[in-house]
């Protein structure tokens, strides 16, 4: 199954599913505002069964129609998981990681504004394809959860700033789970910023 949109591409191995989404940039003004419910909005999904994936991300019209401050940016987020992703989840996987079994893995690839590329936080270059299982820790999680371990890495690739966040269902089995994550990362490509600019 293929997943692509917003300058991401991923050929997901069997057993993985993923989405690419962008949050609406509008700040909601009341509880009845439809665009305010960000989770799940503008989502492209695919599953690991090899079905055709919807590669369109958030409907631009909806984003553009929102009365948002022009300077607010909502770069895309790619979620990859070995389990069924719930519709409502945080950008770093809250609500999803709660559902992980021991053998599951969750990967979030989050883009930041282009102005952040190559700043000290994003100084590392390139999406890592090889991960060190020893770098995973149950302290390196957005929310510490039993048995889980995580790893976070900020980097720049192709003039674009990213954060890679990986959660393993069982940190005690990191070696095997990391190999599985590496398999899916090997299938992820990031288009350079210049190419994205040219396609707009």
């Amino acid at each position: 199954m293929q997943l692509h949109g917003h300058g991401f591409q991923a050929d997901l191995p069997r057993g993985w599913e993923g989405t690419i989404r962008r949050e609406p940039v509008a700040e909601p003004v009341d509880e009845t505002t439809d665009a305010a419910t960000g989770d799940g909005a503008g989502e492209a999904t695919g599953d690991g069964a090899g079905e055709a994936a919807d590669d369109e991300a958030a409907p631009e019209g909806r984003i553009g129609a929102a009365a948002a401050p022009a300077a607010v940016t909502a770069p895309p987020v790619m979620h990859l998981a070995t389990f069924a992703l719930p519709g409502q989840r945080g950008d770093f996987g809250s609500g999803a990681v709660d559902l992980m079994a021991d053998e599951d893995a969750f990967v979030a690839l989050l883009e930041y504004g282009p102005e952040e590329a190559d700043t000290p936080l994003f100084a590392a270059q390139g999406l890592p394809r090889k991960l060190d299982p020893r770098a995973f820790s149950n302290r390196s999680l957005q929310r510490a959860m039993r048995k889980q371990s995580g790893w976070q890495h900020f980097f720049t690739e192709g003039g674009r700033a990213f954060c890679l966040y990986v959660v393993l269902g069982d940190g005690g089995d990191a070696n095997r789970q990391v190999r599985r994550v590496e398999e899916v990362l090997a299938q992820v490509t990031i288009e350079p910023a210049a190419a994205l600019e040219g396609s707009r």
Partner: protein
């Protein structure tokens, strides 16, 4: 008359039974209290139950869960893995504690804690050079973790490399980049944290003032701790006082905070009930690197420097001040406001505004103001407040005041002239008129019975018994030659008049001066003057003498 307390009466059954909310709180407080709890901790637990009932009585009563869960939300235990709120662990301050920095943020849409608008959670991560150890927050409600989760959202302070532990979380209802310009606008969302809260943060029933205080940092803000509950002010507004300021809330402006000596002055003047009313701005910089101001409905309070005394300008002065360029204009900062004799004078670093009773606001230049201040109250030249704008009369400056004018000599010296002399002087055109500009300030003459103003073309005399008399030319020369007001002639009782015979004459208390057409001046005593009258000539003032009547009884 004294008022005695009413005798106690036995309460009715209904009165004896407390309201259900009180009973529920008592019962649950007892249940939560258990054995062995300190009074402080017990009361703390009861307070949480009370908060839970206030926040959501139906939800709290009908749904399972603890009172803490209602107040502090999901995942409030340490084992839940989330990070505690900063105010929980930072003495009520909703700010990043020392040794931490804003490292990233996320948005929660439609938050009930922000009146349905977006709520933002900002992570404060350990500074790379600081140390902290993982622990659980020591709070019965928000027991979340402190300095445990090595995690970063990554939208703030990206000049700081690396990932460190999240010490605690700040909450705002304003955008993070407004809260801290070091945060960027890359939106991350986590609505799963919608219910997260703490006892020290505004609850679902928060007011605009609560949220404003939260966004400023609560006890960590410049306002300090609250000293009063939120109160209703004039015209339906609301306000709350703090150690070092106030927050005001009105529908048209939202909540605005004012702090420091500006707020202290506003309070002294009567706060929202004063002429200034409610603030319409917060403390804003003047733009010169020093000064600040707060604009109110009815004026502005200006502060030149931190150590200076703030000056409150009512709108009638403030509008004029702003149109003149404000503190960066020619006037500089206001330095004082003085109410005097029904009027007001506002002094600036360079000049003043004055408003006499019933007059418009006028500007007074510094040298004019100083000229008026050289004369003490009670002096005939104490002219009061300016009533007209300064004008240029001929080559002289002139400004009208309540009781006179300020003008200048040919040499440029400014001085005030009281009404007794100023009014007749202005009647003939003032400095640009026939009498010309003054030569010097007015002086007292004739033992204080009159005052004299020497002008370029003559002299003006004013006194209670003589009115205002102007002498000039050879008559004045002869008068001064004869000793002037201190001589035998005394004070003038007429102006100089021209007779049909071509003579110029003026009469005095002790005689007259007659100047013939050839320029010969004759100083006449009373007797001489009478003699001149008996010869059939006109009097020195030009009037014809009456025909003398014989003494009564004369045959």
């Amino acid at each position: 008359m004294t008022i005695a307390p009413a005798p106690p009466s036995a309460p009715s059954a209904a009165e004896a039974r407390p309201p259900i909310t009180v009973r529920v709180v008592d019962r649950l407080g007892r249940a939560l209290g258990g054995n062995g709890l300190s009074r402080r901790r017990f009361l703390g637990r009861v307070a949480v139950v009370g908060s839970a009932l206030a926040i959501g009585p139906v939800r709290y009563t009908l749904k399972p869960g603890t009172a803490y869960a209602q107040v502090c939300g999901d995942g409030s235990s340490c084992s839940s893995g989330w990070t505690a709120f900063c105010c929980t662990v930072n003495d009520g301050a909703n700010t990043c504690p020392p040794g931490s920095y804003a490292a990233g943020w996320w948005r929660i849409d439609n938050s009930p804690f922000c009146m349905g608008r977006a709520r933002y959670v900002i992570d404060c991560n350990r500074s790379p050079s600081a140390r902290c150890s993982c622990r659980c927050a020591d709070d019965p409600c928000d027991q979340r973790r402190v300095c445990c989760n090595n995690f970063r959202y990554g939208q703030c302070n990206t000049q700081v490399a690396g990932v460190t532990e999240v010490v605690c979380r700040v909450v705002t209802c304003i955008a993070p980049w407004e809260w801290d310009p070091a945060c960027n606008r890359t939106v991350r969302v986590d609505n799963r944290t919608r219910s997260h809260n703490s006892r020290c943060l505004p609850q679902r029933n928060a007011t605009h003032i609560d949220l404003k205080y939260q966004d400023m940092g609560q006890t960590g803000s410049i306002l300090g701790r609250a000293t009063t509950p939120e109160r209703t002010g004039t015209a339906g507004g609301r306000y709350r006082r703090y150690d070092n300021g106030s927050i005001f809330s009105r529908g048209s402006t939202g909540a605005l905070a004012v702090w420091g000596s500006i707020d202290a002055v506003h309070r002294q003047l009567g706060g929202d009930a004063s002429e200034l009313g409610y603030p319409v701005t917060e403390v804003v910089a003047v733009g010169d690197g020093f000064g600040t101001s707060v604009r109110y409905q009815g004026g502005t309070i200006w502060l030149r420097t931190r150590s200076a005394t703030p000056q409150a300008l009512p709108a009638r002065f403030d509008d004029r001040f702003r149109s003149a360029g404000g503190p960066r204009g020619r006037l500089g900062y206001p330095t004082g406001v003085q109410n005097t004799g029904g009027g007001t004078i506002v002094t600036f670093e360079q000049g003043a505004f004055a408003q006499a009773a019933g007059s418009a606001v006028v500007e007074v230049r510094t040298d004019v103001l100083e000229a008026t201040r050289r004369v003490s109250a009670g002096h005939p030249d104490h002219v009061g407040l300016a009533t007209r704008e300064e004008i240029t009369s001929g080559s002289s400056r002139l400004q009208r005041f309540e009781r006179g004018i300020v003008t200048q000599t040919q040499g440029g010296t400014l001085f005030p002239i009281g009404s007794d002399l100023a009014e007749p002087y202005l009647a003939v055109g003032g400095p640009s008129g026939a009498w010309g500009p003054p030569l010097r300030a007015a002086s007292s003459v004739a033992g204080g019975r009159a005052r004299r103003l020497d002008l370029a073309q003559g002299s003006l005399f004013a006194g209670a018994t003589i009115g205002a008399r102007y002498l000039g030319g050879p008559v004045l020369t002869a008068y001064d030659g004869a000793g002037g007001p201190g001589g035998s002639l005394g004070l003038p009782t007429s102006d100089v008049v021209q007779t049909r015979a071509g003579q110029r004459r003026a009469s005095f208390e002790g005689g007259a001066i007659v100047v013939d057409p050839d320029g010969t001046a004759n100083v006449l005593s009373h007797r001489d003057a009478r003699a001149a009258g008996s010869s059939g000539a006109s009097r020195p003032d030009g009037t014809s003498p009456r025909t003398q009547r014989p003494p009564s009884g004369t045959p």
